[in-house]
């Protein structure tokens, strides 16, 4: 039984009477009446538990930081507060009264406003239109543009964004200005609880300073702020309270400044190792050999920042870091999907320019990218398993533009055996397979091409443990057969268990390279947060 249940069943413990205060165990009850309390919140997506009995207590006039690594449950928590998804279990109290939000609009009406990481602005509308979008001032039933403009100017001023013209179209503004409009839009709704989800990630340093001042002023006005950030210095600067999430649970709440970065990292760790990984190859690599793939100072806009790396045949390199630090863009850039990249790409020591996937997969380059979303980018779900497998390799299986059916069938059967996909290859449509088998298909489809360089974008997300194991074995086997593998994963265990080296990315750049035994959860998390800690206690990575 969780502590919140105890509190819920024994209202006598709380002095507030009709306001039974749950609260998380570490926050002393009775400092100020909490505005918003979440108790025992759980949420599942299919087989994945995003939140399990999470608790959170929010007070007015304070900034509450929420911390946690990838998949810890932060974003699900925020979506629940903001009315985007409904919890499966648990309850929420606003001013002591139970509430549930059917939609973002309902949460807004209750005074909860969220600034999402993905911008919620309408590009074709003006700044003023956007700021007033959910509740424009009206006169005679029509939008009062004069009042709307005043409202927008006031909100922009409150956000410290005097330089933005209210009539400018949002699509004409650079990203950092849009983020400021987003903040102004939230303020215009007069929130009681304001949630900022990585709201500073796109801002310039000058804006960040302004936003700090704004947030501190809002705190002084009595607002409750929930602040999600992976930047530890921001949290140190702003937060009064912190709650750490790990594996969908709220593991600790404490007053800001009472724990060191070191202790915070320890709290964020805490998964049990339940998976066995195939042994790494022990063959010493000739360091003088020409790398299969070499990248020199690759940059792309402000998303990728001078990335250099070398990937050898037989090697599995992991990409680590928190989600959204440029890992996906790096893989897309290598696969020729992004245009306007700068820097140099060498394959087998020769400079190459890759113009899209059809170019990347040709035999002399031999690249394959296992995409992130198997349903939209990996498979044609309504088509048969066999057709899906042979798609990327059709040109190899054809003569004079006609597919050689016998060769195709043979190739399909070979891959099906290799992957142990349970299906006969012709009848069932790809969409009818389980998530794990679908993912195997996506990998198998590229193996038909006999790739020399395999890029994987978080390939085990949302699939079952058994299939994960098979994929790990397969990757290792492919590496032993001479493939070079670059592997992005949001799951730190995988990086620890599967990779010979891990490059940790932060803000579009590679911040740290971990080799062999250096790859520990501690090292991964602290470098993902870009904290330079004193030498971490070596947690051992189980194989």
């Amino acid at each position: 039984m969780s502590l919140s249940e105890v509190a819920g069943r024994a209202p006598g413990r709380s002095q507030a009477g009709p306001h039974p205060l749950g609260g998380s165990p570490d926050v002393p009850v009775g400092r100020g009446a909490p505005i918003f309390v979440m108790q025992g919140i759980s949420k599942r997506y299919g087989g994945v538990r995003a939140l399990q009995g999470a608790d959170l207590t929010i007070e007015g006039g304070r900034i509450h930081a929420v911390l946690g690594e990838n998949g810890a449950g932060k974003s699900t928590l925020i979506k629940i507060i903001a009315g985007v998804v409904a919890p499966d279990e648990g309850r929420m109290l606003l001013d002591g009264r139970p509430v549930s939000f059917a939609s973002p609009a309902a949460a807004n009406a209750a005074g909860i406003v969220c600034i999402f990481q993905e911008l919620s602005l309408i590009p074709d509308l003006s700044v003023a239109d956007n700021i007033a979008i959910s509740n424009p001032p009206r006169r005679f039933g029509l939008i009062d543009r004069r009042a709307q403009r005043r409202m927008a100017e006031e909100a922009l001023a409150r956000a410290g964004a005097h330089d933005i013209h209210p009539l400018a179209l949002v699509k004409d503004l650079p990203l950092s200005r849009r983020q400021m409009v987003e903040i102004a839009k939230a303020l215009a709704r007069r929130p009681r609880i304001l949630i900022l989800d990585e709201a500073t990630s796109a801002l310039t340093a000058a804006d960040v300073t302004k936003i700090y001042a704004v947030l501190k002023r809002l705190r002084a006005e009595g607002l409750a702020l929930i602040y999600i950030s992976h930047r530890m210095h921001e949290i140190a600067e702003l937060a009064d309270e912190c709650t750490v999430f790990c594996n969908g649970r709220s593991v600790a709440s404490y007053a800001a400044g009472t724990k060191t970065d070191q202790e915070v990292v320890e709290l964020m760790i805490g998964r049990e190792y339940s998976q066995a990984f195939p042994p790494r190859s022990n063959t010493a690599r000739p360091t003088a050999a020409v790398p299969r793939l070499e990248l020199r100072e690759l940059s792309w806009g402000d998303r990728l920042d001078r990335i250099s790396l070398q990937l050898h045949a037989g090697e599995v390199i992991g990409l680590g870091g928190l989600d959204g630090q440029g890992q996906r863009e790096l893989l897309l850039a290598l696969f020729g999907v992004l245009s306007g990249t700068t820097g140099e790409l060498l394959i087998d020591g020769r400079p190459v320019r890759i113009d899209g996937p059809s170019d990347a997969k040709r035999a002399s380059l031999g690249m394959a990218l296992i995409p992130e979303d198997r349903k939209t980018e990996g498979l044609m779900l309504p088509m048969s398993v066999g057709e899906n497998l042979s798609f990327a390799a059709l040109s190899r299986l054809s003569r004079w533009g006609v597919v050689d059916r016998a060769a195709e069938r043979e190739a399909i059967e070979r891959i099906m055996r290799l992957l142990a996909v349970r299906s006969d290859g012709t009848t069932p449509i790809a969409g009818s397979l389980s998530g794990g088998n679908q993912q195997k298909l996506v990998i198998g489809k590229w193996l038909m091409n006999e790739p020399r360089i395999i890029l994987l974008n978080d390939p085990t997300r949302g699939i079952d443990v058994g299939t994960k194991q098979e994929i790990y074995q397969l990757l290792r086997r492919l590496a032993e057969q001479g493939a070079a593998i670059l592997f992005y994963s949001t799951d730190y265990d995988e990086l620890i268990g599967c990779c010979d080296r891990v490059l940790v990315m932060y803000d579009g750049a590679v911040k740290r390279e971990l080799v062999g035994a250096e790859i520990t959860e501690h090292a991964l998390i602290s470098s993902a947060l870009n904290i330079t800690t004193a030498e971490a206690p070596q947690r051992h990575a189980q194989r």
Binding site: V84, S103, P104, A105, N108, F116, L119, S120, L121, I122, P123, D124, L125, S126, D129, I133, S134, P136, R138, G141, L142, I143, R145, R146, R149, H165, L167, A168, L169, D172, W300, G301, E329, L332, V337, L338, S339, G340, G356
Partner: protein, 329 residues
């Protein structure tokens, strides 16, 4: 409410509409100065009737295109309204008035049916409106298997004649539609929502914008405007005809007018006023061929080329895409 420093933003926002206006004025000047009879009141009136007819259909199309949909049934709603008007807008003044209301209500109903299928059936607008368009045409054919019928003469003359002896009444009708339907729509919360949906539907949803209501209003008003056009064509021809070719032509031309008028086919940007100028421009292009004595058989080809060029202009922005995945999103 404009203050100093606002005009660049105002220009930016109305760029498409202003360009359409300028292009139309230029073409109309060429047309008028080369017309064999010169620009007299009768020439102007005939041009206005034809232009306004297409302009109203273009307004109807705009409302749906703004939601990032497309309405391929506008032409058929026009044909249905034409057949209905040639049957019921006759008789005593009261009967005529009721007839007009009936025609407009039928148009609005057609639009509402499109809306319900698109919103609740979650079908693509293009498929939905092809199918319902066929139904509306079938109803029109049942109403009027052979061309014929009539419309009240007073109403017909009032809408297609001249005011003060020189001003085409059609232009007054068009101005009335802009003032009574378009401007209030544009400035309503629902109108704002229509732009928001067309621009970024997920962001609109996350901002608590009433998405269903906005789509419903856009499609219904579109049907209503198409029936106004149907009523107007009955006034011009004084008869009704269930002509599929007519319906399809007006649908295609309405899309041409919308594009020429600076309305984005991706939704979210543009104005019905721009589409009106687009329609007038498109009509003038056709008339220019007549003025310069070109073979009338070349007209469809020429208008097709103009349409293709206009649509291609809209694709220029794709040259700036930096993540090629965005091209297929």
């Amino acid at each position: 409410m404009m203050t100093r420093g606002d005009w660049p933003y105002w220009l930016r926002e109305h760029r498409g509409t202003l360009l359409a206006l300028a292009a139309f004025l230029l073409m109309f000047a060429i047309y008028a100065s080369n017309h064999p009879a010169g620009l007299n009141a009768n020439v102007a009136n005939t041009a206005a009737n034809k232009g306004v007819l297409l302009a109203i259909v273009a307004m109807a199309q705009t409302l749906v295109v703004l939601t990032s949909g497309i309405d391929l049934s506008v032409g058929m709603v026009l044909v249905l309204a034409n057949c209905l008007a040639s049957t019921i807008v006759v008789g005593s003044p009261l009967q005529v008035a009721l007839g007009v209301v009936g025609v407009l209500a039928t148009g609005a109903l057609c639009g509402a049916i499109n809306a319900v299928i698109v919103i609740y059936g979650r079908l693509q607008p293009i498929v939905t409106t092809i199918a319902t368009g066929a139904v509306y045409y079938g109803v029109a054919l049942a109403l009027r298997p052979v061309p014929g019928g009539d419309i009240d003469g007073t109403l017909g003359d009032a809408l297609t004649g001249k005011v003060f002896g020189w001003l085409p009444a059609a232009l007054v009708l068009l101005l009335g539609l802009v003032l009574l339907i378009w401007l209030p729509f544009r400035r309503s919360e629902t109108g704002r929502a229509v732009y928001a949906i067309g621009s970024a539907e997920v962001a609109a949803y996350m901002s608590g914008v009433p998405i269903r209501r906005a789509k419903f209003v856009a499609y219904t008003l579109s049907g209503l405007l198409a029936s106004v056009a149907g009523l107007f064509i009955t006034c011009i021809t004084s008869s009704g005809e269930a002509s599929a070719a007519n319906g399809n032509t007006y649908t295609l031309y309405s899309i041409a007018a919308v594009v020429l008028g600076g309305v984005s086919l991706f939704g979210g940007s543009g104005s019905a006023v721009g589409a009106i100028f687009g329609a007038l421009m498109f009509r003038t292009i056709g008339d220019l061929l007549f003025v310069f004595d070109l073979e009338p058989l070349w007209q469809p080809l020429f208008q097709g080329v103009v349409l293709t060029a206009a649509v291609s202009l809209g694709a220029l922005r794709l040259l700036r895409v930096r993540n090629r995945l965005d091209l297929y999103g």
